[in-house]
Symmetry: C2
Subunit: 399 residues, 2 copies
């Protein structure tokens, strides 16, 4: 028996180790049940787990030989369920405290003991009735031992164990082992559930943030029928350019570049909201003064968005999307490689969409013509790498 004991200790240690690092609750339960069934020679095992949100108990996973299956329709246990009552109610805890479990072979002895001994609170008849019900429930689940797991005196899980392959009875040290394992497992599972909950919350909040930015740009574009969809399209082209540059390993981008570019693309024209509609929708040539107002939009955009605390690269994409490679753009007259790549990409995408979309004073140009314009201005207006990527996208029919 001593060697068995050491095995149990090692099994518990190796099973518990690392459980905390698995943050997928389903995988975790599966691993635990598999370990019990395979390594510890039990024909069948299942875990009933407390469901925090509904305050019921749920049969989470069950594994065993074919034919030894838990009947369907018994996957949810409420507080009146005999097994849950047995472990959950103070007045019954004297029945299981010695063994850390309820074992079906013990039940008739427990019933007998109830008939001769005084008990803690419940009437002896109640206790006997409950024990009979527990016995029936265990039979139904092909279970010979049930081990509870508590956390801060609250029942978190019940491990249901089938017979051992060698048909011997459960030793106390085996039950102690299962009790320790069930407790570790229940906590690890709860931890994983909390983790997933938090992860989903973080993702949801991030999605909400992106959605809000999208709604923001759509609302603003809705004011101007001629630019409707412009920011979405620019973002789409810009992402295609960056994907193709990443794919060809032409440039090294940070992991978050794609996301940053998306936000920058969506917001690049946000500063236009400050421009009077009369100028924005003007049906003729702009005066110098009006053109100055238009030229203020990148700076105004960046200023309005300041409270968002956007990443620097994202801000640069907005601020510099009207710079030119030859330094004759605005607002800062940056030139060549001094223009951040994110802005150079948006600039090409922006020009392409401006040329191909209908405007108050002209129909949109054909794709072919717009691409010719980009080729012509490669190296003067446009960053050669970004422009070349755009041209290739067109040539490959990917626009």
């Amino acid at each position: 028996m001593t060697s068995l004991k050491i095995d149990f200790k090692k099994e518990l240690e190796s099973a518990s180790k690392g459980m905390i690092m698995i943050h997928d609750p389903k995988l975790l339960i599966k691993l635990i049940i598999r370990m019990i069934v395979r390594k510890l020679g039990v024909r069948h095992a299942a875990m009933v787990l407390h469901d925090l949100e509904r305050d019921t108990y749920v049969l989470s996973i069950s594994r065993g030989e074919t034919g030894v299956k838990i009947p369907t329709g018994f996957t949810r246990f409420d507080h009146d369920s005999p097994l849950i009552k047995l472990f959950n109610c103070k007045e019954y805890q004297h029945l299981t405290i010695d063994r850390n479990a309820i074992v079906s072979d013990d039940i008739s002895r427990l019933i007998w003991r109830e008939s001769v001994l005084p008990n803690g609170g419940a009437s002896n008849g109640d206790v006997q009735k409950l024990l009979y019900d527990v016995y029936d429930q265990m039979e139904m689940f092909n279970t010979v031992a049930c081990v509870p797991a508590y956390h801060r005196h609250k029942l978190m899980a019940v491990l249901l164990l089938g017979e051992k392959y060698d048909n011997t009875k459960f030793e106390q040290e085996e039950l102690d082992f299962f009790a320790a394992l069930a407790s570790d497992a229940a906590m690890a599972i709860r931890n994983a559930q909390l983790f997933n909950h938090l992860k989903r919350e973080a993702d949801r909040n991030h999605q909400q943030y992106l959605q809000t930015i999208m709604v923001l740009t759509h609302l603003i574009e809705d004011k101007d029928a001629y630019t409707r969809g412009h920011s979405d399209r620019v973002t789409e082209y810009a992402l295609k350019i960056s994907d193709s540059l990443m794919h060809k390993d032409t440039l090294k981008f940070s992991k978050k570049f794609r996301e940053t570019l998306r936000i920058s693309g969506l917001l690049h024209d946000i500063g236009k909201i400050g421009i009077p509609e009369a100028i924005l929708n003007k049906n003729g040539k702009l005066t110098d003064e009006e053109y100055e107002i238009i030229k203020g939009h990148p700076t105004r955009g960046v200023m309005s968005l300041q409270p968002l605390g956007l990443e620097e690269e994202c801000v640069k994409g907005i601020l510099h999307h009207h710079e030119r490679y030859d330094g004759r753009g605005y607002p800062t007259k940056l030139a060549g490689e001094n223009i951040p790549m994110i802005a150079a990409i948006i600039a090409v995408a922006d020009s392409y969409d401006a040329m191909t979309s209908d405007r108050p004073y002209r129909k949109g140009l054909p794709q072919e013509t717009a691409i010719q314009e980009i080729r012509k201005n490669l190296g003067s207006q446009f960053n050669p790498i970004a422009a070349q990527a755009m041209i290739e996208l067109y040539e490959k029919g990917k626009l």
Copy 2:
């Protein structure tokens, strides 16, 4: 010794239990170190923890008798630090594998053994040099035993132990206990760190979302000098009304009501962005047709915001903020208690701000006069509870 062994097992069990549920890393380390020092009769203990981001090791917490303190300036250990090297490098692991630890009393024996035995890879001279350095480092930290904790063969933590109060040497089973404890603790701490990381991410994403909504409203109001700040002020008044109703227990609100009201208040006029500036800023009476366009703003707002998947209550606040208690409002002519409370609150706040702010065609009314208007229209235009709360805020000088 047998009773001591049982104590250790229990201590480990009770210490490890629940560690996983503590998601504050600092608190967790504190609890563990305190437990070691107090219960296990060690004069002094400290924990060196792996810092994932910088891939160094950091002295996280230290506790012990006065006078037995770790010298400042030694809180960060790089990979060249003797103790870290000893536990981290494969070629030195034979030195500590028997004992699960390095014990200063063993070091001279280990050095002697190195001089007579062949070893795994490092030259014997290197090993001896490292052992001398480890000895010095342990002296510096008043440490007589150091216990490593691994996760997936990676050194996650080193537990530094001072002398025992009874001045006896560490037994192997004590060291085994500390090894198991350090390992459990290191994983629990890593888990807590990941948890906090995720929690901060979720919070940050949510803040970004709220900030984006704020920027959204400010951008839109900026188009119209006369409504600048309107949404912020309406939100502020609405929150004051709901706080006072909550405080007086007049109405039961859900936990999230305050947050929902804030978003609803900020966005209530978002649909106005679709209204031409000529109508919005008109310097005279509106025609019926123009008024119909104005009346479309709650519905348009709700429609534009649809992609956000806002909560139903939030949407109702936007949609119904121009309903009247007598049913003569818009867009759905809801009346009385059929108007959601959130909309009734925004309606009072909105009217108050509209009356007290300057408009193109008139100066704003004095607070007193606006409150008289609200009192006069309590029960006809305004929900009596919301209006009464607003009046009381004014009377208490809280507006």
